[in-house]
Symmetry: none
Subunit: 204 residues, 4 copies
DNA sequence: AATGAATGAGCCTTCATTCAT
DNA sequence: GATGAATGAAGGCTCATTCAT
């Protein structure tokens, strides 16, 4: 009897895992469309068409549009967090930590500006739509953790606020992204690196 | 004859002024609804209902939804700019400039968080909808000018970048607003002042 | 007492005439806009703007949009009828009647294609909207009278049906106009004259 | 592998056919409403209600209102062309061609006056709205082809213009329809036949 | 007499969501 | 599991008409 229960719950779990895998796979496809079109300007039909998914499938696997978007953003941000963490963990000593972090931020903003735009779009939504707040809080918590990791790595004085440091870094990151998106005042790759490097030198 | 021309043009101007006044009045009403609901979640019907205006009137005075929103944001931001400018112009010497600026920012963020939320919402829209870019560029230019004014007043070294200073200040301002809106980690009025004051001390 | 009645009715009539004159004047202005834009595609606001009239005035003098349009078409068609009648009355003998009629039709279609388009547009409306039928009937009666006048002038045999003759002539006239409007297969002025001349030679 | 490709393309084709069938079915329903109300006076809501279709469905199958109307008119006119062609192809010799053609025109105008009214309505629209011109040109081309077919069948002299013949025939056809619609001067079925028969005798 | 501000019903269209297959 | 046909509420916008001045 116990055995059967075990088997059953194992099967349920397997099924659940399979379903989660599928959800992740769909979300990854959907992400491609979302990055380009943005949250408010993308209908589920757009996502389905641009991702080779069927409209029904999106609703079969996801509760509603919010649910899908949350999964998509979640995937994206986890990648970003992983990249930053990897860059920071490879660094030894304050100078290297600052250099690696600046480099990682630069690469990310230059290569994937429209992906970051989506993050800022969702974070903005969360200010009006409470259903986005849990995921935004969670992801923003991860981002602050990265800043804390960098601070530790760089030997920042314990008086430095991670909250403040994150806020400033984010302000700069966002503005650079915006200027790239709107093609207003595009810094070269080297200039972006320099401005991050200098700022991190002061902040950490 | 000259008299008639003068009278005529006077009447045209009066009419035009009257129309502009009405536009401003409508925009102010509309602003109330927009502040609460946000751009994407506010239909013209919502605005009409919440403002006691008829749907047709909105289109009688404004080309389309964009046009109305742009007027609304414009009004709001001009007020903000005027307040900051007034605060800065009344200050003498570095310490006063910093104190006044910090105070003005604090008052504004504490008293009108949802108005600022709308600004961030529109700025976000502009990343996807080019029709918002001119107004966002213009207003953001005004904000940078304020920062520059503060820098001059505080006697900042000429090497300091107004672009960077604005970015960092905006990052902090935005995060504080977000935390107030989402009721996550609300700093007291005094704490907000202190964090602005400290930051300005470093930046300017 | 009788005198007073006479005076009163005279004043009423004078007033009424004045009003009719004004109506005619407005309708003539409005016609200019209508010719270009067509019935269904023209709002009263369009007419007001393009004719230098105020929106309120249109409704002050005319019951509704139908009423205005009816007046406009009426004016136009009376001009057309007058032109054709003049041309026919100046002609003596069968050959001249045919030549003058063909010439008059040619001039009208070449110079004022968009005016005729409006007539066909209204006649078309009348098939669905009964309020246009009286005026269309009346005007079409005038057109048939012209055909009859030409037939008399040309000494057509009494067996010839004016109804049929009008139908055929109108079919050709309309097709030529259509091809001019749609820029499909534009006959030269001389070709238009020839085809009318030949047809009239057969029909009358 | 080849098999799979075949199967796949077969399925795609079947699906496409099914969609086309549905479009045709919807268009036929819509036609019923359009015939009665006319183009400008028929909203998509009217069509949906009168046809038992949902509003969304109309847009699911057709790009926009134009697209739907074009399908409707297209269907109708193809039927008309098919009928005329069938009548003409069954006829041998000049007299039979004329008799069959006159009969077919008579039947069509008497039984389906309101369908023809719609054709004239759309043709009229095309004078103002260029988006209707391609379909109107195409269908009018078909009508001229029918006239040409009749001319060949009747052994008309090669000097006779199909363009002119079409114009005259259309003029008469339209006027008869108009008089039936407006209930002004309704010819009996036999009189309609006679007038067509006589005219064709002269024209062909 | 004349104006144009104001109204609100109605139009076309979009879209998340449901459901039969 | 997967599909896409079908729904209908809601959105931006137009326009004839009314009415206060």
């Amino acid at each position: 009897m116990n055995d059967m229960v075990t088997k059953l719950s194992a099967r349920v779990e397997r099924k659940s895992n399979k379903r989660d895998d599928k959800k992740k796979q769909i979300a990854e496809s959907a992400l491609e469309a979302l990055k380009v079109l943005g949250y408010a300007n993308t209908s589920l039909r757009d996502i389905a068409e641009n991702s080779g998914l069927s409209l029904g499938m999106l609703h079969y696997y996801f509760e509603d549009k919010s649910d899908l978007i949350i999964h998509c953003v979640s995937i994206y941000k986890k990648e970003f967090v992983a990249e930053m963490t990897a860059a920071l963990e490879m660094a030894e000593g304050r100078d290297e930590v600052i250099a690696h972090f600046a480099e990682a931020l630069t690469v990310s903003i230059v290569d994937r500006e429209s992906t970051h735009r989506l993050w800022y779009d969702i974070r903005n939504q969360a200010m009006f739509d409470v259903s986005f707040r849990p995921i935004v809080d969670e992801l923003e918590g991860n981002l602050i953790d990265i800043v804390a990791l960098a601070m530790r790595g760089a030997g920042s004085p314990p008086t430095t606020s991670r909250y403040l440091t994150y806020a400033l870094l984010d302000g700069l990151f966002r503005l650079i992204m915006q200027d790239r998106i709107t093609e207003k005042e595009i810094l070269t790759r080297d200039e972006v690196f320099k401005v991050f490097h200098d700022l991190l030198g002061q902040l950490l």
